[in-house]
């Protein structure tokens, strides 16, 4: 029997395997009829039933406005909220202790200290690392938090205040503001005076001044304009946020050009206030973490 398409239909038994054929033969090759095992078929039907049940029980179909909610109103968002609540509950034991412990006592309890550092590290990665670097290494204009040079103080309380209220963050009325004026741009100092004072400032930390620099002029300019904030020997004042100019750490670089640029244009990078954006426990954990990076003062 041959159809119009040239297939032969002959439901005979294949002599080699003893299996019936489907009757489809192409170029003398016949297709054996090996039906699906029954268990497979039933499993397939079961999955269909399962999927229908799934539509009914869980949210499934989009509607013109909204979607089918499912029998029990299950929501993935709710599941996340539940999971988060479970996480909070898990953290509650240590979190509660951290919230209540005086800042200075956190480091005295080994487990609490480890917890605070871990939480602080996570919060640091989320909130502080974009400016201060993943490990608090800082960058130009962004202080390195690992060293022992602090603009606004490195004690636990100082760090906590800085994180809470930020620096030059005018939206927070308790923020701390210290301004390095733009001496050149505002016409207070002439270019030679700025260059001279830049070279003089380098000598305060033992660096070489620029060749042929007028150090006498620089010293005079310094004592007239800079010493009020930075101190006679350039030791800085943390209550004003004025940097120590006599140590080897330079936030914007120690070359004459960078220093002259600071004197001419002024400096004044801002740090946001985190109070209100982060809860007090997280700020406490961050404080402990930053303090423990290595530079924290006692």
């Amino acid at each position: 029997m041959t159809t119009e398409r040239g297939e032969t239909h002959d439901h005979s038994v294949d002599p080699v395997t003893g299996t019936t054929t489907t009757g489809h033969v192409w170029d003398g090759i016949s297709e054996l009829n090996t039906p699906l095992p029954r268990w497979w078929l039933w499993t397939f039907y079961l999955t269909i039933v399962w999927s229908v049940a799934y539509w009914i029980v869980y949210p499934a179909w989009p509607l013109a406005q909204g979607y089918t909610k499912g029998l029990f109103g299950w929501q993935s968002r709710e599941a996340i909220v539940t999971d988060l609540a479970a996480l909070q509950a898990q953290r509650a034991a240590f979190g509660g202790r951290l919230a209540e412990a005086p800042l200075a006592d956190v480091a005295k309890d080994e487990q609490l200290f480890a917890f605070a550092r871990a939480q602080g590290k996570a919060a640091f990665g989320d909130n502080c690392a974009p400016c201060h670097g993943a490990g608090g290494g800082g960058g130009k204009g962004f202080p390195n938090l690992n060293d022992d040079d602090w603009l606004w103080g490195g004690k636990l309380e100082d760090i906590q205040t800085t994180i809470r209220h930020g620096i030059r963050w005018t939206a927070d009325d308790q923020t701390r503001i210290g301004t390095m004026p733009a001496f050149g741009r505002d016409g207070v100092l002439k270019r030679p005076e700025v260059n001279a004072v830049a070279s003089y400032v380098r000598t305060l930390s033992g660096l070489q001044p620029a060749a042929g620099a007028d150090l006498a002029l620089g010293a005079k300019v310094y004592s007239d304009n800079c010493a009020a904030c930075h101190g006679d020997k350039g030791e800085g004042k943390q209550e004003l946020g004025s940097p120590n100019l006599s140590d080897p750490i330079w936030l914007y670089g120690s070359d004459v050009v960078a220093i002259a640029d600071g004197v001419w244009n002024g400096r004044g990078q801002a740090m946001p206030a985190w109070s209100g954006r982060l809860d007090e426990t997280t700020i406490k954990a961050l404080t402990v973490y930053v303090h423990s990076l290595g530079g924290g003062a006692r």
Binding site: P15, V16, T17, G18, A107, E110, F113, A114, R117, G133, A134, G135, G136, G137, G138, N144, N146, D147, D148, D149, N244, D247, P248, I249, S292, L293, G294, G295
Partner: protein, 487 residues
């Protein structure tokens, strides 16, 4: 066998053209008594006894560790085995055990073929037990064949239902014992009984119940014949001196019924000892005919030896027509040459030596392993820090390991350059300038370690450092290496 060069038969009904698939032939092994049956019962009792009861064996380790002799503690990441406690990073002991197990398997194979398959393999042990249950409810071989061949009666149905019920009970107990290795056994038993055990426990009991019921109750010898790789590997590893359950065809052939063989012998003709009673086939748990020689389905359990010996004793012929022997000897006897049994030969000596060597290395490393450890990771950002006094500091994350079951105190020192000071953040105690930390029993502690060079450092590249963890109780120190980097 058809000669491949001969023209094909026109009908296509030749044996070579038989279907490529064979439906499973259900096997009804007959009960048998004898030496090897006794050995198998004994091994079964001992191995199952160990499996089911081991979790309840206690082993006192003091207050800081569980008192279960064998415990795989996943939540705390510890494995306890009597006096040994293994941490996750010591899993190589498991590798060593696997190597040892493989070598022992090879040695067993070189001495007595598939002794593992016939007596010790869990598949064999559980299947054997399930066969016994089957015979208990459905009767012996003939009874079972008769029942399977006739219509299902109420009696047969009840017997079969009872059989499956008992199978499931054994399987369930098998799964139940399995989970006891992963938690405190007495506690978990109570939790299971009161329905308060963790979900994973029920899940694994279910999985093991199902797998035991399926493998030992339904798949049986198919596991050995089709699923297990060992028969294939074994066939490649064996040699002509390995003892195997062998039909001594030199003595047995030509086989004939008792009457015919007596008549043939009386007439001065040749007749072998085999009376073709097929008892060896009837008792075989994998349904093979041992008289066809060594074959992949044969697990060499020796039950055919028992069956044949019983028949031989009954008809007054010498036993051991089927016995642990080698093909080499069968051929030798045929040719009238002396038999040779060479248990000690290069192969067995090599396996034995390797087993001793691997075992000794493992024992030695276990006995001398460090119970304190230190690992160091250098800070990546920043790599170093300049200080206001001109010094340079590097920071490290250090983890101190205390594998003993008591709290220990350690001092952490750093060597590699003069004038280095060490400080552990949050650790006030120190001894001779080195921070002193306490690590709880069987615990690790992570620390932030600051290493400072106060004099203006001349650091070019990296200075190698050695971190030394010294136990204050006088135990062996541990070291780790890293670098100090500067501008």
């Amino acid at each position: 066998m058809t000669d491949i060069n001969s023209p094909l038969p026109a009908t296509g009904s030749d044996a070579d053209d038989a279907p490529l698939y064979a439906p499973r032939r259900k096997i009804h092994p007959q009960a048998v008594q004898g030496r090897f049956r006794r050995i198998k019962w004994t091994v079964l009792a001992i191995t199952l006894g160990i499996y089911y009861l081991l979790p309840f064996v206690r082993w006192d380790r003091g207050p800081n560790a569980p008192d279960q002799a064998v415990l795989i503690d996943f939540p705390n990441r510890r494995f306890y085995f009597f006096f040994v406690e293994i941490w996750p990073q010591e899993v190589y002991y498991l590798t060593g055990l696997l190597i040892l197990a493989a070598l022992i398997l090879f040695l067993m194979n070189a001495v007595a073929g598939r002794a593992w398959c016939g007596y010790l393999c869990p598949q064999t042990v559980w299947t054997d037990l399930f066969y016994a249950v089957e015979r208990f409810f459905e009767g012996d071989r003939r009874e079972q064949i008769r029942r399977d061949g006739s219509r299902l009666t109420v009696r047969t149905f009840i017997d079969k239902a009872m059989k499956h019920w008992v199978w499931l009970l054994i399987a369930w107990w098998t799964g139940g014992a399995w989970v006891l290795y992963f938690a405190d056994a007495p506690t978990l038993v109570k939790e299971l009984a009161s329905g308060t055990a963790p979900f994973a426990a029920y899940l694994w009991i279910g999985i093991l119940t199902l797998s035991t019921y399926t493998l030992a109750g339904h798949m049986r010898e198919q596991v050995c014949t089709y699923m297990c790789p060992w028969p294939r590997i074994q066939a490649a590893l064996t040699d002509e001196h390995a003892l195997n359950v062998t039909y001594r065809y030199d003595r047995g052939e030509p086989r004939a019924s008792l009457k015919k063989s007596i008549a043939a012998r009386a007439a001065g003709g040749k007749a072998g000892d085999c009376v073709d009673c097929a008892q060896c086939v009837a008792v075989c748990p994998t349904g093979v005919d041992i008289r066809k020689g060594l074959q992949i389905d044969c697990i060499q359990c020796g039950l055919c030896i028992d069956a044949c010996d019983a028949v031989m004793s009954k008809i007054g012929r010498p036993t051991a027509l089927i016995a642990y022997d080698t093909d080499l000897n069968v051929k030798a006897r045929e040719l009238g040459q002396p038999e040779t049994f060479r248990i000690v030969r290069p192969r067995t000596i090599l396996y034995g030596a390797l087993i001793v060597l691997v075992g000794a290395v493992m024992l030695w490393s276990l006995a001398t392993r460090d119970v304190a450890g230190i690992s160091v990771i250098h800070d990546r950002n920043p790599v170093f820090v300049r200080l206001t006094d001109g010094g340079v500091r590097n920071a490290y994350t250090v983890r101190v390991l205390n594998k003993t079951l008591e709290a220990r105190r350690f001092s952490i020192g750093v060597a590699g350059r003069d004038g280095l000071s060490v400080e552990a953040v949050g650790v006030a105690a120190s001894r001779e300038g080195e921070p002193v930390v306490e690590v709880g029993p069987d615990q690790t502690r992570e620390l932030r370690l600051l290493v400072t060079a106060h004099e203006p450092p001349r650091v070019e590249g990296a200075i190698p450092l050695v971190f030394t963890l010294t136990p204050l109780d006088g135990g062996r120190a541990a070291t780790a290496r890293d670098y100090f980097r500067g501008p």
